[in-house]
Amino acid sequence: MLLIRHFEETLVAVHDQGHFSGHYHLYIGQEATGVAALSCVEPNDCLFTTHRNHGHLLARGADPGRLFAEILGRKDGYNKGKGGTFHITAATLGFYHTSGIVAGIIPLATGAAYAAKARKSGQLAVCLIGDGALEEGAASEAFNMASLWKLPILYLCENNGKYGAGRAAGAAQSPTMAAYPLTDLPKAYKIPAEQVDGTNVGAVDSVVSEAISKIRQGEGPQFLETQTVRWPGSESNWPVVPVATNINLAWDISSVPQKMRQWYRSSDPVLIFVRELVERGWATKEELADIDGKVVGIVDQAVKFALASPYPEPEDALTNVFA
């Protein structure tokens, strides 16, 4: 979780220094979901993610240097610079395809589950989507097929807008989605669906483990909605890091701008976990600070590696069109 947090906070700085252009999406605030969920899947399972993929790749053990290099469009990136932040693909880690089209992966992941069932490979597919993806017809169409054919797939919907407009009134959380709760949608197709606090590592681990065990027993698709609160740094079009995360923020948020303190106090999954570890006596503040320092070092190395990696040769644009 700390690796994802430091990686992305650093990414904002590297972007602001002009090292890459284009829009990008951050996973900050959702780390507990990705880390806990991906710890429950097997190495040969099939994973599909979206434009908000950095956290998923890192949670699965991706090399931070190659990941950073891809975001910067460099030769040593996972996709040799052809994908960029929206499309980071690491087939060796089970990430076959990363689509920047909202809901683009839902049919694809469902197809991977079809292949797993047809080949009796014992694999399952995990489809990592955001709440907005449910607005696309592809979601409903794919849910229907997954349910009809009892495909081995976990739809993990990361709802990062828990307190979105309208929510307080008990209505749909967004002005663009009538279904409320979101779990009503998969349930309409008879896919079992649950909600869980996405800022709580233990809670996510528990529901994902249970869902995966049902899938492996042949019960067919499962849907989980993990709820998180949007990181205040993402409120503007281009992310702004209010304050670099460090372990001490778990107990002292005086360095955070006043209007953003609420999120760091109660909705930051990293700080919640840090406090939990210390309160339960599973780690000391010193041990955590030591880990934190090491992670900062890993991210520094990753950035150095990425910046040192050359751009691809221009003519490389013409390769890999066909297999």
């Binding site: 694809l108 197809g111 794919a142």
Partner: protein, 325 residues
């Protein structure tokens, strides 16, 4: 050599690819691959032989095409029957924005060995929403192989190559070819992509035609031969990859070119072929290149209206005569 009807050659290809490789799965309903043809009931034989390898999808083109693409990424070789080519528009995002891009955008990590099967063109009373020829639109999306068979031998041999290809392949067929009879070898012939075939040799004018238009051009050529015009008919068979060398060799020989294709004329397959021929061989041409394509209006229902906009034998003959005049 034995003769088969086109639809029989196609069914034989389906049966053989399923028998040869258990990673081949079909996404198709009970009358798969033969559209509204009366022979569609013959697909039942395939269903019976391979019940676990044919899945009938809901009316969800977007998701069942995506399902096939995802299954291809994860190790199968799915063949999806979209039936009418116009229905591909329902699945456009998965075909052109996921399948076509996956291998490139992953830097060569993820292969997508999927086949999309479409029945294109003016089928007779299909009207505006069931008569499209989307091959030119698809040609504008790098990453897709595009196959346009025109004979029983080709449909079988090209289908085998399509299924064994590691790239997303759009196999675009024409229902008006189904009754055509022709020689099909009994051997297990796979026809490589990117190999045009001279369907008829001639010396006066080159006609480059695709799909059903090959048969139409051959029929016109027979008629014109009686009047002393020797037409060479070149069938690219696949437009991606394109065997431009064979096309240009014929153009250099005859110096006169007519391109016939059933897409709408503007930015159609004929437009691209004409542009390439003009770029590469302007100095070899003895007359302006002509093209015959579907006129640029939505396809009308009423038979005389449909005939009027179609690349008919009369229009093809007129273009050839104008070129050799």
């Amino acid at each position: 050599m034995r003769e088969l009807a086109y639809y029989e050659a196609k069914l034989e290809a389906l049966r053989e690819v399923l028998a040869a490789d258990e990673s081949v799965h079909l996404v198709a309903d009970a009358t798969g691959f033969l559209g509204l043809s009366p022979h569609r009931v013959r697909f039942a034989e395939i269903l019976k032989s391979f019940p676990d390898r044919v899945i009938a999808p809901p009316i969800s083109e977007l998701a069942f095409c995506g399902l096939a693409v995802g299954a291809a990424m994860a190790g199968l070789r799915p063949v999806v029957d979209l039936i009418t080519a116009s229905f591909a528009f329902e699945a456009w995002p998965q075909i052109v924005n996921e399948a076509a891009n996956a291998f490139y955008m992953s830097g060569g990590q993820t292969r997508v060995p999927v086949v999309f099967h479409l029945l294109h063109g003016l089928r007779g009373a299909g009207a505006a929403q069931h008569s499209h020829s989307p091959q030119a639109m698809l040609w504008n999306c790098p990453g897709l192989e595009i196959v346009l068979p025109s004979s029983p031998r080709d449909v079988k041999g090209l289908f085998k190559t399509a299924v064994n290809s590691n790239n997303p392949t759009v196999f675009i067929d024409h229902v008006r070819l189904f009754e055509l009879r022709g020689e099909v070898p009994e051997t297990d012939e796979a026809i490589p992509f990117g190999q045009a075939e001279i369907k008829r040799a001639g010396t006066d004018v080159t006609v480059v035609a695709t799909s059903l238009m090959v048969q139409r051009a051959l029929s016109v050529a027979d008629g014109l031969a009686k009047g002393g015009i020797q037409v060479e008919v070149v069938d690219p068979r696949t437009i991606v990859p394109l065997d431009f060398k064979t096309i240009m060799a014929s153009v250099e020989k005859t110096g006169r070119v007519v391109v016939v294709d059933e897409c709408h004329q503007s930015c159609g397959v004929s437009a691209e072929l004409v542009a390439r021929i003009a770029e590469a061989g302007f100095d070899k041409l003895k007359a302006p290149i002509r093209r015959v394509a579907t006129l640029d209006v939505p396809v009308p229902f009423s038979p005389p209206l449909e005939d009027f906009i179609s690349p008919s034998e009369a229009r093809i003959a007129e273009a050839i005569r104008a070129t050799v005049r």
